[in-house]
Symmetry: C2
Subunit: 331 residues, 2 copies
């Protein structure tokens, strides 16, 4: 039994990294999710990423009654019409393209539609937010941004440093995205985004997906829905409502050692690993995909109209994807 029909609300989550299972895909259907951007890789190189894509191919086959691979924005409507959720695939780090520009197109052909220019560290393309020095977008970074623009692969700056993020917004000829982050004035951490970034993003037509990951929330897992939605209202005062969405960063079902993998990858000496890396507890109002539609009540209570609430919960992402996934100049 699904809640989605062509007439139902379009609900889109701008980022999730769950331990995927049939149960989670069923919860997407119960929650009426039209589309979800799902992370395929962090620190995996090309070959390991292809292996992850093989597993996605099997998931799309095994759960064809619940999900389908999203290749362009029309697949959102196709998913709704068939009572399924469109999964758009993305990378949180550019390791999968190694130093080979051609792999951007190869991964696009294999379904990748989002890629972060950096995760937390310096990458070949730019600086992550945890680096002491942010030298901005690199020489290869400029080539890759142009290539992503050409193909219609979304540049995602969620984990990048301030300078790298501002330069990417400037260099990209197409709107970019911060799929999952909050304003740093609300929760001060380099991982959240400055007012300058939030404004530059929106002025160029880019999307900000507000995150529900506890480390990005003012009071962590104790943050109330009311407080989260009041923050959304503050952002809307600054940039309007059309460039605002949700990127929940839901990591449902992942074991705690995945936190080590995300933070410490393969570059950290085992004896320097943090022993207690663990997922924080989620806010009680957002535990899985069935809670997504419940954000509407909070947004309305914070003053958003019904129409604006619908935009934030999915229509803005859909409108962005309609443009962002179109091939650019393919000459």
């Amino acid at each position: 039994m699904t809640r989605d029909t062509a007439d139902a609300a379009t609900l889109i989550d701008g980022l999730q990294y769950c331990k995927w299972s049939r149960e989670i895909f069923q919860q997407m259907r119960e929650g009426g999710m039209s589309a979800v951007h799902a992370t395929v890789s962090y620190h995996d190189g090309f070959r390991d990423t292809v292996r992850n894509l093989v597993e996605w191919n099997w998931r799309f086959r095994d759960h064809a009654d619940l999900i389908l691979l999203g290749r362009d924005a029309d697949d959102i409507a196709a998913a709704k019409a068939s009572g399924r959720t469109a999964i758009f695939l993305g990378l949180q780090n550019p390791m999968p393209i190694e130093d080979d520009l051609g792999l951007v197109e190869i991964l696009h052909e294999l379904g990748i539609r989002f890629m972060q220019i950096t995760y937390n560290n310096q990458s070949l393309l730019g600086a992550g937010w945890m680096e002491a020095v942010d030298g901005g977008v690199t020489r290869m970074g400029r080539e890759v941004i142009a290539e992503m623009n050409r193909l219609g692969m979304v540049i995602d700056m969620s984990h990048s440093g301030e300078r790298t993020t501002l330069e990417a917004i400037e260099l990209s000829t197409r709107p970019i995205a911060v799929t999952h982050a909050n304003p740093s004035w609300w929760r001060e951490t380099g991982r959240n985004k400055s007012a300058e970034v939030v404004k530059a993003l929106a002025e160029t037509g880019g999307m900000l997906g507000l995150s529900i990951y506890p480390h990005h929330l003012r009071d962590g897992g104790a943050t109330t829905l009311q407080d989260f939605c009041a923050m959304a209202a503050e952002v809307a005062v600054m940039i309007g409502v059309d460039n605002l969405g949700i990127g929940s960063d839901l990591c449902q079902g992942q074991p705690d050692n995945i936190v080590q993998w995300m933070r410490e990858g393969r570059w950290t000496r085992p004896d320097r690993r943090s022993a207690r890396a663990a997922f924080p507890a989620q806010p009680e109002w957002f535990g899985d995909n069935r809670d997504f539609a419940g954000l509407a009540a909070g947004l309305k209570a914070a003053g958003f109209s019904g129409a604006d609430t619908a935009k934030i919960l999915g229509e803005n992402w859909r409108n962005f994807m309609r443009k962002a996934f179109k091939p650019g100049d393919l000459s």
Copy 2:
């Protein structure tokens, strides 16, 4: 200036491995070629094959006025309508899939439409024709044949041993191909195909692409067009005309060290390499794609009707591709 229109003959070459260049693509147009099956890899592993595909992506972009990537048989008509040649990509060895079944689908997504189960040596899937012992299709070979059947990737047995070839014909639920070989009764070499194989292939709807590579011809490069076409007529007496095509094995412009690569790969000790490996001289009647249409006169002189000549020079391959590239049971 192209000779191709929707009304012109459909000319299809079942295999070429040229040193690709704009000049060769222009010759395809001058020769009125509707489609060519082009080799991407022999002994390259997955990553190297992806690099070869990156180069093909660039070729399709740089020469978009002359060629396009063929993904299904409709692309043959699309190519004709736009005065271009459809290039169908293939592998002459299964090294690119390593031991990972999932890479068959990945490579299919990247455009691969033909794959040989073996080149000359034993592979993970079966025995090549140069092995002393042919143990037939292996355990992994059975899995891969089923996967290729599912996806609509053509099983090509051109270089495989007799037993492996017969077993593949038997195991495959869809017609297979020998894209480039001649009957061994005409030129006796293990690389050509026995009457038993030729009959089993045709009885199951498979295609035999007659080769113009000198080592497959009765008198090498001195073989006359008349003799080649008389051989085609003999084959037609045995199996009829509908399963017969051309797979020229044209290796235009390749340097001689490519012969070493094809024959000796990376498994041969340098001091055991054959010092004089070289490409043989082509017959004077077949030097490049502009000579393909000229085969018609020889076939007609050998007794083929105009309609049967058109089948052999392209229509049979097109009809085969219409069925072969359709996805099978994708559940």
